[in-house]
Symmetry: C2
Subunit: 247 residues, 2 copies
Amino acid sequence: MRSERAKKASAKSGVIQEADQAPSSRVSAILNAAERVFGEHGYAGASMRNIAEEAGVAQALVHYHYASKDKLFEAVFERRSSKINQYRGKLLDDLFSSGRSATVEDVLTIAFTPLSKIFHGEDADNLALYVQLVATISLGSDERSRRVREKYYDPIAERVIDALHTVLPGISHEHATWAYLFSVGARQQAHALNGRAARLGAPERTSKSIAHYEQLVRFAAAGVRALVGTTRDTASKSSTVKRKERV
Amino acid sequence: MRSERAKKASAKSGVIQEADQAPSSRVSAILNAAERVFGEHGYAGASMRNIAEEAGVAQALVHYHYASKDKLFEAVFERRSSKINQYRGKLLDDLFSSGRSATVEDVLTIAFTPLSKIFHGEDADNLALYVQLVATISLGSDERSRRVREKYYDPIAERVIDALHTVLPGISHEHATWAYLFSVGARQQAHALNGRAARLGAPERTSKSIAHYEQLVRFAAAGVRALVGTTRDTASKSSTVKRKERV
DNA sequence: GTCTATAGTTCGATAGAC
DNA sequence: GTCTATCGAACTATAGAC
């Protein structure tokens, strides 16, 4: 019923996006507002009304351009993730194609490069809130979180895990996977903009800065290395790990 | 207006809880249902209707016992956190009062002891969902998340950070804080019950088990140690870290 | 493309009977 | 304590004028 306009809209905006780089001010204002509101309050906590208000447009216009709340939500990830993953992918390619001796730090530095190195100008406005949104999605167990995760972030995750396996041939695929996920978790806490670090005794940085990128890489790299040759990574069958692994 | 019944209710249930251990079946059914629904969908995504349904009671009864959605939300943390923090606090006391040489692993093992070691029987039913709820709260930047975090989890966080400082005298307070937060992040990914680890190549455990508790401790301990004597921990003023720390 | 107006639903909370 | 019934507000989405 409404698919007529919805389809036309998405087709049209697609053309606009790839033909010229005109931000089509209203459309990008809506997407930016969505990123902010979703980032602050999550999917359920955000409302199309809030987003329209924040964008300074009528609520109906949001539906006209993005058809539904769910589609708008995905559009937020669509815009960011392709560029992010392309950036990290290329750096990983370069790392392994040229010089030989790549380290764990190299891989993690690429995997965790701050988004402000990837986006510039007005595209870099809501990065912190987008990062918070991704963190929420990465933990969620609902269907929507799973969908977004698998579509936009699992591919690059697999690439990084493979890269870890390359720089640390002694690590099992299982341990490399956990090492990556642990590191992602550490990174999420590093990026949390909830003021907790400052409250607990770690001085905060300016609004756009990420806290301690180097410390994060150092922490994660040491953690990853600590999982090499551990327990059943080196032929020693599953012995210790089986017990006492409860919530 | 409704404060009359609300106050009476909380006073009454308080008496019940400390006098005898009768779960007052309906009341605890509501709290358990709230824990599940909040855990799965977050605060905004949960509804009093869902919770009442899940508990098998009328919606008005939820309001009668807990007065508001917000109060019910806090009640979920109230029940769990006191016992959790008391448990970890005592173990930290024991660790430092008796034998001398405590290690980073000792501290992290205590800080991350699976909840299933603390709760038993029917009290251990929704632990995984509660853990997921805490993870969400730990990242949230909204006022409610901040309130819950500061009230229920910052005290034990400070204790653990102090403990890290004790077992690693060379570490600065700032680095100990980040080390703790990074570790918490790693733990959250370890506990995530969204099936991502399995999807990415790390075999899953049975429903109630936490993935790789020992690997988590090993990872985090190595990470924490890697932050000792780093950059400006050892008198070398803020030099390297200042630049390039952006989102 | 953009708006106003509104349909249709779901929400938190309360009133009041038992 | 527990229920049914309902109010008023907020929500997603659509219709239709411009």
